[in-house]
Symmetry: D2
Subunit: 247 residues, 4 copies
């Protein structure tokens, strides 16, 4: 089994190293990841310049591009073969609810899925992030549990692991995405040259975090696994818009 | 009525100028757009540095950030008031089917929607793009048709206008997103210094472009309007994953 | 007479517009300038990606690169002819003393000079910068006074104009570069996410600003003109190093 | 003795690792280098956003900025002490003649010098670059030979080492900078989307490479050491310009 592993924190991040090691127990792992931290890069594809790949002493490859670039480049040309699975992570921090839209970690996995390959995004939820190796083991278990799927149909899973020691981990929950409150306003400040600047503010707290959501599962010590799809059509609203806008 | 207008092609692009003029016929328009072409920036949010805003002689404001940054910054602090509508575009080129995931134009509108404001993304579909002012008039009509919604509930619309003279325009269709074939492989090349480089290849042709899709509407001379939602949960697959992964 | 005009503040900056207009009185002016503010870009040449050129409605061309890129690209391929003169500016702010090493404005002119073309960098010194058109007229006079040089040998001039009304302007002084005190320390701060960040501090005040320097001339209401060269060899120290390091 | 070590190829480059090891034989070495390849960044200082520092597992620190940023940040705030020496390199490739104006490697050392600290830039000259450890040993020898200077006056040295086995190395030469022919024209090309792009061309071959120059020394198997200064004033031309431009 050959796994393409990427992330959005950069090829040097502890999360990807932990996951590479855990996956190596049962698969051949190929790392193609951004050369620097691209958190928040989302689904950005680099169209206005070419990409380059280099190899670090660790054997990991790094690209001067986004997480989506890395998976796109690896699958459609660089690797020279089609991986059986794309894994992205372990992200340093949660990707739950609306985060999935902005997340470079999810974007890397989604790119694999759009290219027809089963793909899994893995994030570690917490502030201090002390349990990367536990999270890596948990993620590797999920990967193995999925990998025996004989159907061959691609899927896209968003996995969030609470930052807990394995003794405190409660098991797995398949969830739907919750929803956050609106983000905090931008923080207006002044730089040392006296110019007004704005920092994007903190993400909102969980709003829809009831039972069944990713937020709820993780808050209760479970690994959250959410199957995702990529069709943004709001099917339930098609007919009412039809009435209003037809012309 | 106060409209925040942004795009991903940059504040100087002909598309945003045409749309600003058309919307000015019935609304107060505030332009906050990227300082340079950020096509493909998707939902990128700039977290690792602050943002600055400048004012062009045209009165348009431009930001050293992404389309999402522009809307986020404008709504959560810079404008000083809450716009009634966010409009993004007119994009130079189509945003249909899977494009919506990568599109900075759609991302800007989606940011407005996530902040609770009705939002509309507008793209011009074609190669030569000769009919910006027709497209702007068409888009302005859609905006006006939506704006009398008394419910106050936010919505997110993805509008694609064929690049046709108004005489050839057939009307409006409310559609679902189609689907593209996989993208072309990366194009391997060598730069003048002899180093291997890779260009992201062309997007795939339409795959699911049957009746009812955005591709089909535009190909037949109609303006395509797709209502979007942002919850990526694949609800239909929750129970089967529950069976497989519960532990 | 054909003049290539560039800057480091971006093609949309008031300084370059004022200078383009003043030079148009006696020369054909071609503007090729950065698409965004690249102050502090120094002599950066973009080697890891290709450059693109676009044309603004004003007729100015803009490049997704540095000031040096702009001049390099224009002279060695884009223009299709060899300009008689390269002018860079009017920069928004001083470029005196050690500033010349960091200055993108000076770098653009230096690139012209290294390509064998007489080149002049122009900067406006002051805080509020109210007198761009006066500075442009003064700079145009310098350009005309230089342009009748029959020798054909390239030269490199660094011109700094005080931000004064023409009535208060005292004339021209040919000067040597002064020297600044060391820059202020970096300003340590914390971003809204709690991470330590550092801002580069303010430049130092003038240290060597005695008679004969650019600082002195401008402080006394004169236009400062400093001829520059680009050989950094410290000839006076060759023999002592020879003694110490020969092996 | 405490040495600040930086470069422009990125903190992960083989050249800086080799030099760090060689210098560790007789000094305490602190590495603060760019997070990614910034070749050609020249003296760029990052003014429009703050800088961040991270620590790699190797103990090296890396910065989201230019070589000049790294030295500036380390000396004026991050290190917390004033290093006795700034060393930059080993650069992957030559920095001779006019290269010194564009070189990020030289810029990093020059920043140390402008901050009042003795500073040395080291580059490896060749195509395949097989002899990093030899070059590191040679550079360490130069550093040691300089370090016993009791005068305390800062100096700036530009060292170029030929890529030879130690058996073929001929000794040291103190040199002046040579001069290159003009760079090759930009290379016009078309990207996969059909847009015209331009690559900056190759640097010119050596033009002034006679005896006494850095080019000549390296071509003959010697380590070239050029003392540099940073005052760009063309003193020899002051009086003739005085005559022409006085007004």
């Amino acid at each position: 089994m050959r796994i393409l592993l990427s992330n959005d924190d950069g090829y040097f991040a502890p999360g990807i190293a932990a996951l590479a090691e855990a996956l190596s127990g049962f698969a051949e792992v190929f790392v193609v990841a951004p050369e620097r931290d691209r958190s928040g890069a989302s689904h950005s594809l680099t169209l206005d310049r070419p990409l380059s790949v280099r190899r670090a002493p660790s054997g990991f490859h790094f690209v001067n591009g986004t997480p989506t670039d890395c998976v796109h480049l690896a699958v459609t040309g660089f690797l020279g073969f089609r991986p059986d699975l794309v894994v992205s992570g372990i992200n340093h921090g949660a990707n739950m609810g609306d985060d999935t839209i902005y997340s470079g970690t999810v974007a890397a996995a989604m790119e694999g899925y759009l290219l027809g390959i089963p793909s899994i995004a893995v994030s570690l939820v917490g502030r201090e992030l002390n349990h990367f190796s536990t999270a890596a083991a948990v993620a590797a278990d999920v990967v193995r549990a999925c990998a025996d799927d004989a159907s061959g149909a691609p899927y896209l899973l968003n996995v969030n692991v609470p930052d807990l020691p394995s003794s405190a981990m409660k098991g797995r929950r398949v969830t739907r995405l919750g929803k956050r409150h609106m983000a905090e306003p931008v923080v207006r400040s002044v730089n040392p040259r006296g110019e007004t600047i704005y920092w994007v503010g903190a993400v909102g707290a969980a709003q829809d975090a009831g039972e069944g959501t990713d937020f709820h599962a993780v808050a209760n010590g479970f690994v959250s696994i959410t199957p995702l799809q990529v069709d943004l059509t709001q099917f339930s609203a098609l007919s009412s818009w039809q009435e209003r806008l037809s012309a």
